[in-house]
Amino acid sequence: MMSKYTLFVGLKNEAGALERVLGVLRRRAINIDSLTLTKESGEMYRVIMSVTDEVVQAGPDRIVKELSSLFMVMSAEHLEDS
C-alpha cells in the first residue's frame, strides 16, 4: 500500500470547506506533510496536499472516493510519490 501520496482537490470557496477535507484525513489518522491552497477564478479553491497514510493505510483511491462524496468538493484526484 502506498503510504505517501499527493492529493489534488478542487473545493468550493466557502467557510468550513477545507475543514471537511481535513476531517476525512483526520478520521483515518493521515498526517499532512505539506499543504498549498490557492484561490482560483470563480468560486473555487485548489488544494494540493502531500500526505502520509501509515496508520490506517486507507490508500489514495479510498481517500479520493471519500473526498468526492463531500458536498463542497468539486474534484479530487491523487498522484503517487516516487
Partner: protein, 578 residues
C-alpha cells in the same frame, strides 16, 4: 397591524413548500422565534419530544416507516449537541433527515455566548453536510439544498444552523417575490425524470452480471436496506422466483423479503442462520442489493464468500473497498439499476444447490425451548410470540439494541417493507421508543410495536410522556433480564465470565408506566404469555408489557468477532478467547 414576515416565518413557509407535515423537536432560547412562527403556522404539526436525541430518532423512525424526509428541531448549545447520536444513527443507516438548530445571533458568534456551540463543526463527521444561514437570502437556497442532499445518492442527515437574529429579521420584499418561484422549482426538481443528476446505468457491467448469473450453479442474493429504500423488493422477489435464487436478508433488509418464502435463508452474519452463512461461504456468486457488506455481516474479511464472485449493486461510489472489493460493482439507485438487470434474468432452477443448502439446517440451541411449555419464560421464546402478533396486526416493529434485537431479527415473520426499524450500523441503545413515536405519527392507522431490553428502554424512557401526550397506541414490550444482556454474553464468552458493570436493578416498569398513565402488564412464566398478549393487543391506548426473563440466556448462533462465517457456533460451547 400588519405583521412583518420574518426569517423564521420564511423557513416555516418553505418547510411546507417542501412537503413537510410534521416536525419532531424541543424548543429553547435560540430557536424561540422559529417556535413563535410555528405558533401561527397551523399546517405544520409539531411533536414535542422530551429530549432532543429522541427528536432525531423520531424523525428517523418517521422517515424509515414512511419513505419521506424526517425533520427535527432543537435549540442551540445543549439542544443541538443532544441531536448528535440521532444524526450519527441516521448517517450510518442512510436515513434522510433535515435537522434545524437555533444558533446565537451572528453578532456574538464565536464569543462563547450563552448556549453557543459550533454545531456545524461538532456534527461534521455525522452529517452529509451542515449549512449555517448567514444572511436572509441563504434561507430558500440552503433549505432546497438540504432537502435535495438528504435524499440524493445514499440518503443521510443534513443540518441547518439558524442564527437567532436572522430568524427575527424582516424578509425583504424582493425575497418575498421569489417565494412562489422557489416553490415551483421544488416541484420540478422532485420529478425524477427531469433530475439531471440521474446516472446512466452501466449496461456493460449489468451484462457481465447476467453472464455470471447464467453460468452460476450456486448463486445467492443478499438484500439490504437500499432495496427497501428504493422500493424494488417486489421485483426482487419476482426475479428470485424466476431464477430460483436463494435470498438472505441483512438486519436492515429483513423487511425486504418474506421470511416464510421458500427461497429465504434468513439473516446472514454474526447472529445469522447456518443456512445463510454456509450458503454465502459455499456460493459461487453473491449478489448484494443495497447492502454495504459491513463487518457484522461478512465476518472475517479475507475469508468472506471464498468461492464466490461478488457483485454489489450500491448507490454509494465509496462502497467498494471499505470492507470488501466486489468483482463487479454497479453504481446507482436500485430503482434505476435493478429493473435493467431484472429484464435480462432468465428462468432457471438450481436443484443441486438447494439440496446442499437444505443440509445446513441446524437450529440455534437456546437455553430455553422456543414453544410455550410450563416454566420460566425464555427471551427468544417470548420474542417469537411477540413478533407473531406484530405480523398478525400488520404492524411495524421498532427494536432497540442488544440480545432482544437479534432475537427479533431471527424470529421476524412476514412483514411488509418499512415495517422493521432498528439501529443497525451505529447500534444505538434508546432508539426504539422514539423511533416508534415517529413511525406511529407517520402511520396513524397501523399498530406500532416497540421491543426493547431493560437497558436500552431506560435510555429514552422519558418519551413515555410524549406517547401519552400524543395519544399514540404503541405496544411497548420490554424484555427484562435485569442486566445488559449482550454485554454480559460477551463477558461470559470472551472475558472468562468476569461480569463487569452489567447488573441493572429496577425500576418496577409497570409502576413507571402507570405514573405516565399507561396500562401495564407483566409476565414471568411461559404459560401466561398468549393470554396476556391478547389483552395487550386489545388495549385501546398505549400499553407496556414487561416480560421477565433469565439473564443466563444467550443469542445463538454466533460468529465470534474476527472469525469467518463458517466458524459459526450454534450453542453455549464457545472458545474462551478469540
Amino acid at each position: 397591524m400588519v405583521r412583518v414576515l420574518t426569517g423564521a416565518d420564511l423557513l416555516c413557509d418553505l418547510l411546507v413548500a417542501h412537503g413537510v407535515e410534521v416536525l419532531f423537536g424541543h424548543p429553547g432560547g435560540a430557536i424561540l422565534p422559529f417556535y413563535d412562527a410555528l405558533y401561527r403556522k397551523r399546517d405544520l404539526r409539531h411533536i414535542l419530544m422530551r429530549h432532543e436525541q429522541a427528536a432525531a430518532h423520531a424523525a428517523d423512525g418517521y422517515s424509515r416507516a414512511t419513505g419521506r424526509v424526517g425533520v427535527c428541531v432543537a435549540t442551540s448549545g445543549p439542544g443541538a449537541t443532544n441531536l448528535v447520536t440521532g444524526l450519527a444513527t441516521a448517517m450510518m443507516d442512510g436515513v434522510p433527515l433535515v435537522a434545524i438548530t437555533g444558533q446565537v445571533p451572528l453578532s456574538v458568534l464565536g464569543t462563547d455566548a450563552f448556549q453557543e456551540t459550533d454545531i456545524v463543526g461538532v456534527t461534521m463527521p455525522v452529517t452529509k453536510h451542515g449549512f449555517q444561514i448567514n444572511q436572509m437570502s441563504d434561507i430558500p437556497e440552503m433549505l432546497s439544498a438540504a432537502f435535495s442532499l438528504a435524499v440524493e445518492g445514499r440518503p443521510g442527515p443534513v443540518l441547518i444552523d439558524f442564527p437567532k437574529d436572522i430568524q427575527t429579521s424582516p424578509v425583504t420584499p424582493e425575497l418575498v417575490a421569489h417565494i412562489p418561484v422557489i416553490s415551483l422549482k421544488i416541484e420540478e426538481s422532485s420529478d425524477p425524470k427531469t433530475n439531471p443528476t440521474e446516472l446512466e446505468v452501466d449496461g456493460n457491467c449489468v451484462q457481465e452480471v447476467l453472464e455470471l448469473l447464467d453460468k452460476s450453479e450456486r448463486p445467492l442474493l443478499m438484500i439490504g436496506r437500499g432495496a427497501v429504500e428504493a422500493g424494488v423488493t417486489g421485483l426482487i422477489r419476482d426475479i428470485a422466483e424466476r431464477a430460483d435464487l436463494p435470498v438472505t436478508t441483512t438486519l436492515l433488509g429483513l423487511d425486504g423479503f418474506q421470511a416464510s418464502h421458500s427461497l429465504c435463508l434468513g439473516l446472514p452474519g454474526m447472529h445469522g442462520t447456518e443456512r445463510a452463512n454456509m450458503g454465502i461461504q459455499n456460493a459461487d456468486l453473491v449478489i448484494g442489493l443495497g447492502c454495504r457488506f459491513d463487518d457484522r455481516v461478512i465476518g472475517k474479511v479475507d475469508e468472506f464468500a471464498p468461492r464466490a464472485q461478488v457483485v454489489a449493486f450500491d448507490i454509494n461510489p465509496g462502497m467498494p473497498g471499505r470492507t470488501i472489493e466486489p468483482d463487479v460493482f454497479i453504481l446507482g439507485d436500485l430503482k434505476d439499476t435493478f429493473p435493467v438487470f431484472a429484464e435480462g434474468v432468465s428462468k432457471k432452477i438450481h436443484p443441486q444447490w438447494w439440496d446442499e443448502l437444505k443440509e445446513w439446517s441446524r437450529e440455534a440451541e437456546p437455553n430455553v425451548d422456543c414453544f410455550l411449555n410450563p416454566g420460566p419464560l425464555g427471551g427468544r421464546q417470548a420474542v417469537r410470540y411477540v413478533t407473531q402478533r406484530v405480523s398478525h396486526s400488520g404492524g411495524i416493529v421498532c427494536t432497540d439494541v442488544g440480545q432482544h434485537q437479534m432475537w427479533v431479527a431471527q424470529e421476524l415473520p412476514d412483514v411488509t417493507p418499512r415495517s422493521h426499524l432498528t439501529s443497525g450500523g451505529l447500534g444505538t441503545m434508546g432508539y426504539s421508543l422514539p423511533a416508534a413515536i415517529g413511525a406511529a405519527v407517520g402511520n396513524p392507522s397501523r399498530t406500532v410495536w416497540v421491543v426493547a431490553g431493560d437497558g436500552g428502554f431506560q435510555m429514552n424512557i422519558q418519551e413515555l410522556a410524549t406517547v401519552v401526550q400524543e395519544n399514540l397506541g404503541l405496544r411497548i414490550v420490554v424484555i427484562n433480564n435485569q442486566c445488559l444482556g449482550m454485554v454480559r454474553q460477551w463477558q461470559e464468552s470472551f472475558y472468562e465470565r468476569r461480569y463487569s458493570a452489567v447488573a441493572l436493578s429496577g425500576p418496577d416498569l409497570v409502576t413507571i408506566a402507570s405514573a405516565y398513565g399507561i396500562a401495564g402488564y407483566v409476565v414471568d412464566c411461559a404459560e401466561n404469555l398468549e393470554e396476556v398478549l391478547d389483552s395487550v393487543s386489545n388495549e385501546k391506548g398505549p400499553v407496556l408489557l414487561e416480560l421477565r426473563v433469565s439473564e443466563e440466556e444467550n443469542v445463538y448462533p454466533i460468529v465470534p468477532s474476527g472469525t469467518a462465517l463458517h466458524g459459526l457456533v450454534m450453542g453455549p460451547s464457545l472458545p474462551t478467547e478469540v
